[in-house]
Symmetry: C2
Subunit: 264 residues, 2 copies
Amino acid sequence: MFPSAASPAACPTLGTPRGARARAAGAAAPARPALAERIGRSLELLQRQVPMTRRLLRAGDLVYRAGDALDCLHVIHFGCVKTVNMAPDGREQVVGLHFKGDWLGFDGIAAGQQGCDAVALDLSEVWAISYATLLKACAGDPPLLALVHAAMSREISRDRESMLSLCTLPADARVADFLRGWADALAERGLRTDQITIPMTRAEIGNYLGMKLETVSRALSRLAREKLIAFSDTGRRDLHIPDVGALVGFVQRSLGGEGATLVH
Amino acid sequence: MFPSAASPAACPTLGTPRGARARAAGAAAPARPALAERIGRSLELLQRQVPMTRRLLRAGDLVYRAGDALDCLHVIHFGCVKTVNMAPDGREQVVGLHFKGDWLGFDGIAAGQQGCDAVALDLSEVWAISYATLLKACAGDPPLLALVHAAMSREISRDRESMLSLCTLPADARVADFLRGWADALAERGLRTDQITIPMTRAEIGNYLGMKLETVSRALSRLAREKLIAFSDTGRRDLHIPDVGALVGFVQRSLGGEGATLVH
DNA sequence: CGATGTGTTGACCGGGTTCAAACAATGTGG
DNA sequence: CCACATTGTTTGAACCCGGTCAACACATCG
């Protein structure tokens, strides 16, 4: 159950690398070699330019905890990590899902301490990078700095996509959009999107999407009934997505023709 | 109606600088001179180190449009700007509110083009800063780089606070939390928080908070009925907030004692 | 085996949306 | 100046989506 010999950047359980099989799977989303290469090259550049320590984590392990001093940023080499924000009164909110090539800890830079818990959802490897060292390395290395800024920028963009989905989509469509987003994340990384595993409970998904676990369950059942997804016989967390594009169509349809425009 | 002679960093209509009057206003939130100074000093540093062009905007003016090439980042010198995200299908979502000292455009760095529309909500001045020039300036100036990173980091933190509020609070509490957030933003900038003006329609507020304009209106009416806010006689957008802390209490109370914890 | 954690489904209820009406604020042109 | 249109706000009444509560199925694990 270790990454060991196989293709070092492929997550063992989240997905398998695209290959002949993926191409045979009919309507699977097209591969995005450009993006996948970007992530791979970024990781290589990073590995060459800045010292780091690798950490292997199993599902449930903490990468860091909110309040920890921000000595290090982390980059995911493979696997899947959630970030959980907490209010002083105890409310918890899954605010982000992060995959290979994503950075963790940007939100803590300003305060000098981590703003969220980061928890591995699956067997994952992260690279811990001293922030101070990273800054020094960036000073004399514009491409490296650009890489870091691009990662922060994407983080902001993704958060805003989440807000858009949270505020404008009804529950079923939100779940469909969540699956589409997950599949897109895998596609960007060169993994197959027709057969995916969501290593989260219904409660976690619901928390992330702003709904209750029963609603998530019902939404998934409905999507399955409409043949947009199918449950694998191996477990309720393994999904078959025959056509990612159809999920987008479902979202559109559930908006009833009109995306509410703010300005006339 | 120009900023002209008066205290150059005070927004003419959003709020008035704290002074003897603010202190006399009973339970108004305590001033935060440290934070206010940080923002002021950041703007000074920026002004010294990098060239910029000033732009004065009136309510409704566009700072930039989604899709514009990302030549410049913008920093708000005074005023108030909203950022609006749009889905391909036409859904629009107000994803951020920005005040003096905040940056605009971070979300566009990765793609090389703006990801949102940015629209002034009130008379505002922004400084346009060439991103390429900024990067060069940062290379030899660690404090400047730290300043930029801190701004990006706070942006991410704020987005996550929004998600927390969107996902965990009922409508009334969300409106209360919105007002608290607005008052906090003013307090951080050394402005009075007992008398505030929200230069947005109910529809805009509702869009930002993920609810309908009628719900916003009802929530405000209820908050007024409970004496947590009072409408000024000058208009429905001018609010008197006798005690910002009471808004926090209202949020807590509306959670019914328990902030739903995800882990046992 | 029972115990525990997870997922599904049904019945009911309530908060928020929808639809509608009325009012307020502002501006426009005669 | 007033009649009128336009935009924004408030409030009511009915409806419905999603939450709540509950029962049950199905794993895994001691």
